[in-house]
C-alpha cells in the first residue's frame, strides 16, 4: 500500500515537473521577454502618469515627440523628425516623421499634436504637463477662458501648418522648452469627442485600442501582467523581440529567485545593492547600471521658528555629513555623492562644489558661535527605504559628537508626505526627480510653485530669469553655475547622493541601453541571443 502511494506521488511530481521547466525564450519562432515589476500600471493614458509602473509601461506603448540623449540629455528627434527655431527665439517649427502611423493605420498628424496640447491646457486637465506648456502664447488664456468641455478651439501659439508640420510660439523665450516636449500624443480621431474631464477614466486609458509606440497592447490581466506585442508599423522599424510580458511580482526576493531560475529576464532599475554580487556570480545574468535624474537630500525647514534659521547651525550640520561613507558603505558604490542641486549628467554641473572634508571641530565651533551648546532637532523620513534609514542613523551618530541630539521619526509614506506638506518637520530626508534640462527655476526660484522649501534669494531669482532667456548653452551654463554657488552657500538643504539605476538582465538580452529616465529607451533594438540560435 505504502509503496503504491509513493509510486503515485512520484508520478504526480514527475507529471508536474514535466509540465514545467525553464521558460523558453522562444515559443516557436516568436521571442518573448519577461520583465519584473513591483506593481502593475494604473493607467495607460500617457497624459495622466503619476506612478513609475504606469510610466514604464507607457514607454513601451507610446512614442514621444522628442527624446533626450542618454548621455548628454540634449533634445533629439523622435516622432518629430526635425525642427527649426526662428530668429526671434520664440517660434519653433516641427515636422513629424513621415512614417509615423497610429497602430490603426492612420498617419500621426500635426492635428494630433495640437489636440494633445489643447487637452493639456484645458481647465479640466489634471496631470502636470501644463507646467512647461504655460510658456506657450495663449496657453494661460485657454486654461482660464475655455468654456467648452472638449479640447476644441485654438491656442493662439499653436498652429497646424500642414498634415505633418506645426508651429509653437512662446510668449517669452524659454530655453528648456524643447527638453519638455518629451510627452506622447493622443489620437485626435479617437478622443476629440471625449470630454476632457472624462479622459482619465475613459476606456482608452485601459484598453488602449490605438497607440504609437514600439509595442502595442495585447492583454492586461488584472494584477498579473501586461502583455505587449511588437508593433509592425513602428516608425523606427518593428522591434526585434516579439512579445514582452511585464509581470507584477510585488516581492523583491521572489523577483531575484525567479531571475536566477531563468523565469524572468529583466529586473529593471531597482535591484537592491545587496543582491548585486550574488547576481553577478551567475554567468546567465548581467548587471547594468546608469545614472538617474533623481537624488536624495536632507531638507531643512527654515520656515518654522527654530535654530535652523541660523545659517551657522545649518552649516554645522552640512559639515557633519560624510557622503563618501554613505556612498561606499550604505550604497556599496552604486551612487554619486552630491554637493549641489544639479547632477553630473547636466551640462551646467559644477565640479568645483565638491567638498569631502568632514570637520567635527569646525562644526562644533559653528554651533557654539551660533550660541548653542546643545541642540535637539527632529529628522523625519519614510519607512521602507533602508538606505534612508541608514543615512538617518549615521547622521544621528555624527551629530551626537558635536552636541546635537537628533530625534528620528520614521513615518508611513502617506503620513510622511503629509508631514512634509504641512511643514511639520525640522529636518527630512527626501528624494527629488529633476528634469533633463538643468533649469533650476522650478525648485529654487522664490516665486515657483515647486519651491517647496520656500527658498528665497533675489540674486538667484535674477540669475535664473536670465538663464531661461539666454540663447547659448555656454551662457546658460555660466549663469547656472553662479546660481548653484549661491544656493549651495545658503544651505537650504544638504545634498546627499544620486543613486544609480541597477538592472539585472538575462545575458541573452543584447543592445540593452537604458536611459536615465527610461529603461525601455531603445527597446526596439533589443535582441535575444536564443533567437539567432533558433534561426
Amino acid at each position: 500500500m505504502r509503496r503504491m502511494l509513493l509510486a503515485a506521488l512520484s508520478l504526480v511530481l514527475l507529471f508536474l515537473s514535466g509540465c514545467h521547466g525553464h521558460k523558453e525564450h522562444a515559443t516557436g519562432q516568436e521571442t518573448e521577454l519577461h520583465v519584473a515589476a513591483m506593481a502593475g500600471p494604473i493607467t495607460l493614458n500617457p497624459l495622466f502618469l503619476r506612478d513609475s509602473a504606469s510610466a514604464e509601461v507607457a514607454s513601451l506603448l507610446h512614442a514621444t515627440l522628442l527624446v533626450t540623449d542618454p548621455d548628454t540629455l540634449a533634445p533629439q528627434p523622435h516622432l518629430v523628425s526635425s525642427w527649426e527655431v526662428l530668429e526671434d527665439n520664440l517660434t519653433y517649427i516641427f515636422t513629424l516623421h513621415e512614417n509615423a502611423y497610429w497602430t490603426d493605420g492612420l498617419p500621426i498628424t500635426a492635428e494630433d499634436a495640437a489636440f494633445t496640447m489643447r487637452v493639456i491646457c484645458h481647465p479640466d486637465y489634471t496631470g502636470w504637463l501644463f507646467l512647461p506648456l504655460q510658456y506657450v502664447a495663449g496657453a494661460q488664456e485657454y486654461k482660464q477662458n475655455h468654456q467648452s468641455l472638449f479640447a476644441d478651439g485654438f491656442i493662439a501659439g499653436i498652429k497646424v501648418l500642414d498634415e505633418k508640420t506645426f508651429s509653437i510660439t512662446l510668449k517669452e523665450p524659454y530655453a528648456p522648452f524643447l527638453s519638455f516636449l518629451t510627452f506622447p500624443l493622443l489620437p485626435a480621431h479617437l478622443l476629440s469627442s471625449v470630454e476632457v474631464r472624462r479622459l482619465e477614466a475613459h476606456e482608452y486609458s485601459f484598453k488602449l485600442p490605438v497607440s504609437s509606440g514600439p509595442y502595442l497592447l495585447a492583454a492586461w490581466d488584472t494584477d498579473e501582467y501586461v502583455h505587449v506585442k511588437a508593433n509592425p508599423n513602428f516608425f523606427l522599424g518593428k522591434p526585434k523581440i516579439e512579445h514582452i510580458y511585464y509581470r507584477f511580482v510585488p516581492n523583491v526576493e521572489t523577483q531575484v529567485i525567479e531571475l536566477l531560475a531563468g523565469k524572468l529576464d529583466l529586473i529593471p532599475t531597482a535591484v537592491k545593492v545587496e543582491d548585486v554580487s550574488r547576481l553577478q556570480a551567475d554567468p546567465q545574468i548581467k548587471i547594468y547600471t546608469n545614472p538617474r535624474l533623481v537624488y536624495d537630500y536632507i531638507a531643512i525647514n527654515t520656515k518654522k521658528d527654530s535654530p535652523l534659521q541660523d545659517r551657522r547651525v545649518r552649516q554645522a550640520l552640512a559639515t557633519l555629513v560624510d557622503r563618501r561613507e554613505i556612498v561606499n558603505n550604505v550604497l556599496l558604490g552604486f551612487a554619486d555623492p552630491l554637493y549641489g542641486p544639479l547632477l553630473p549628467l547636466h551640462f551646467a554641473y559644477d565640479r568645483s562644489l565638491h567638498t569631502e572634508a568632514v570637520d567635527l571641530a569646525a562644526a562644533r565651533e559653528l554651533l557654539v558661535a551660533a550660541g548653542y551648546k546643545n541642540l535637539q532637532l527632529n529628522l523625519v523620513f519614510n519607512a521602507g527605504n533602508l538606505v534612508r534609514e541608514n543615512v538617518a542613523l549615521l547622521l544621528k551618530e555624527q551629530a551626537a559628537k558635536i552636541g546635537i541630539d537628533i530625534q528620528l521619526s520614521l513615518l508611513e509614506w502617506e503620513a510622511f508626505l503629509a508631514a512634509i506638506n504641512e511643514g511639520d518637520y525640522e529636518l527630512a530626508i527626501l528624494g527629488r526627480g529633476v528634469e533633463a534640462d538643468p533649469d533650476l527655476t522650478y525648485h529654487w526660484h522664490s516665486e515657483s510653485l515647486g519651491n517647496a522649501l520656500g527658498y528665497k534669494n533675489e540674486e538667484v531669482d535674477i540669475l535664473l530669469e536670465q538663464a531661461i532667456k539666454a540663447t547659448t548653452q555656454e551662457e546658460r551654463a555660466t549663469l547656472y553655475r553662479q546660481a548653484q554657488k549661491k544656493i549651495v552657500a545658503d544651505i537650504p538643504a544638504i545634498w546627499l547622493y544620486s543613486r544609480q539605476a541597477i538592472h539585472a538582465v538575462s545575458a541573452a538580452v543584447e543592445n540593452f541601453r537604458p536611459h536615465p529616465e527610461s529603461v525601455f529607451f531603445n527597446v526596439h533594438e533589443w535582441t535575444l541571443k536564443a533567437e539567432e540560435e533558433n534561426m
Partner: protein
C-alpha cells in the same frame, strides 16, 4: 423565531451604519489624500485642486458622507480614485482568483484538522499527539511570509517543480498550469489553517471525551466508533463551527501575505494597495463588505447551532 431574525437583521444594519461612519471618519483623519503633493514628483498644484474638485473631495466631510451614503443605498459604490474604475468591478474581477485559493485552503485545512484532531484527542500522550502539537505551534508561529520564501527557494530554484509567481504562466493558463501555480501558496495557507484549527478540534473533542455521559455510553457497551459518531462528535461540533464560520469572511478578503509573496492576483493585495494609497471609495466599500461578511458569518453560525444542537431549538 421570525421576530428574532428580524431583530438580528436590524441590529446588523445598525452595526453596518456605525462601521461606515467610523471608517469614513478614521479614513479622513488619517493624514494625506490620494493625490497629495508628492515632493518627489512634479505636480501642478492647480491641477491637483481641479482633480479634487472634479471628484467632490473639496466638499465638507458631512456632505461627502451623505452623498456617499445616498449613492451606496442606490447600489453605486463609486469609482476608485486610483484606478478610475467602478469599485465593485475592481473587487469582482479579483474575487474568483482569491476564492480559488482561499476555498480549497479552508476546506482542506479544516478537513485535515478534524481528522487529525480527533485522532490525537483519542491518543493522548502519544508520539503522534506531540508531533501534531509541535507542528501546529510551528504553523502558528512561523510567518507565512518566511515560509513562502523558503518554499519558493526550494521548489522553483533548487528543485524547479512548481511556479511561484502569479496564477498562471503568461500565455498559458490551462487547468494544469493553474494547479501548478496553486501548489506553493496553497501549501502555505493549508499549513497555517491546519495548525490553527487542529488545536481547537483537539481540545473540543477532548473536553467531550472526559464527560460522564461518554463514560456512561462506553459502560453501556457501545463500541469506540459508535461513541465517537453518536455522542462525541455532535457535542464537540459547536466550538468547531464557531471557529470555522468566523473565518468565512477571510475567504472573501483573501490571504494578503500569500498573495503578496506569490504575486497572486487577489482581493487581499488590492485591499493593501488601496489602503496605502488612501483610495477612499475602495476603503469604504471594502470595510462595509468585510463587516457585512462578518455579520453574515455570525448569522450563519447561529443557524448552524440550531441545526446541530436540538437543545438550542427548544430554547428559541
Amino acid at each position: 423565531m421570525i421576530f428574532q431574525l428580524v431583530r438580528r437583521f436590524t441590529q446588523t444594519l445598525l452595526v453596518l451604519f456605525g462601521v461606515s461612519i467610523a471608517t469614513f471618519l478614521t479614513m479622513h483623519l488619517a493624514p494625506g489624500h490620494p493625490l497629495q503633493a508628492n515632493p518627489e514628483l512634479r505636480l501642478d498644484p492647480t491641477a491637483v485642486e481641479r482633480w479634487l474638485q472634479l471628484r467632490n473631495l473639496d466638499q465638507p466631510l458631512p456632505a461627502q458622507y451623505i452623498s456617499w451614503l445616498s449613492r451606496m443605498l442606490r447600489g453605486d459604490f463609486g469609482q476608485s480614485l486610483l484606478y478610475n474604475r467602478p469599485v465593485t468591478e475592481l473587487i469582482l474581477e479579483r474575487l474568483p482568483s482569491t476564492l480559488l485559493l482561499t476555498v480549497p485552503a479552508f476546506v482542506l485545512g479544516l478537513l485535515l484538522a478534524i481528522i487529525v484532531g480527533i485522532y490525537v484527542a483519542r491518543k493522548q500522550n502519544s508520539w503522534a499527539e506531540r508531533l501534531v502539537q509541535i507542528f501546529s505551534l510551528a504553523g502558528i508561529s512561523v510567518p507565512s511570509y518566511w515560509f513562502g520564501i523558503v518554499l519558493i527557494i526550494l521548489f522553483t530554484y533548487r528543485f524547479p517543480l512548481f511556479s511561484a509567481v502569479g496564477m498562471r504562466t503568461p500565455g498559458d493558463g490551462s487547468f494544469w498550469d493553474i494547479i501548478q501555480h496553486m501548489v506553493l501558496p496553497l501549501t502555505v495557507m493549508i499549513f497555517h489553517n491546519f495548525a490553527y484549527y487542529v488545536r481547537h478540534v483537539r481540545s473540543a473533542v477532548l473536553n467531550v471525551l472526559n464527560l460522564d455521559f461518554v463514560r456512561a455510553a462506553k459502560a453501556r457497551g457501545l463500541t469506540d466508533r459508535q461513541v465517537m459518531i453518536l455522542h462525541v462528535l455532535p457535542n464537540s461540533a459547536i466550538p468547531i463551527i464557531t471557529i470555522a464560520t468566523l473565518s468565512l469572511p477571510m475567504l472573501f478578503t483573501g490571504a494578503m501575505m500569500a498573495e503578496q509573496v506569490f504575486a497572486w492576483p487577489g482581493v487581499g493585495r488590492f485591499i493593501v494597495t488601496s489602503t496605502m494609497a488612501r483610495d477612499y471609495p475602495v476603503i469604504m466599500t471594502v470595510n462595509l463588505y468585510t463587516a457585512s461578511l462578518v455579520a453574515i458569518a455570525n448569522f450563519f453560525a447561529d443557524v448552524l447551532y440550531l441545526l446541530v444542537d436540538p437543545r438550542l431549538r427548544v430554547k428559541a
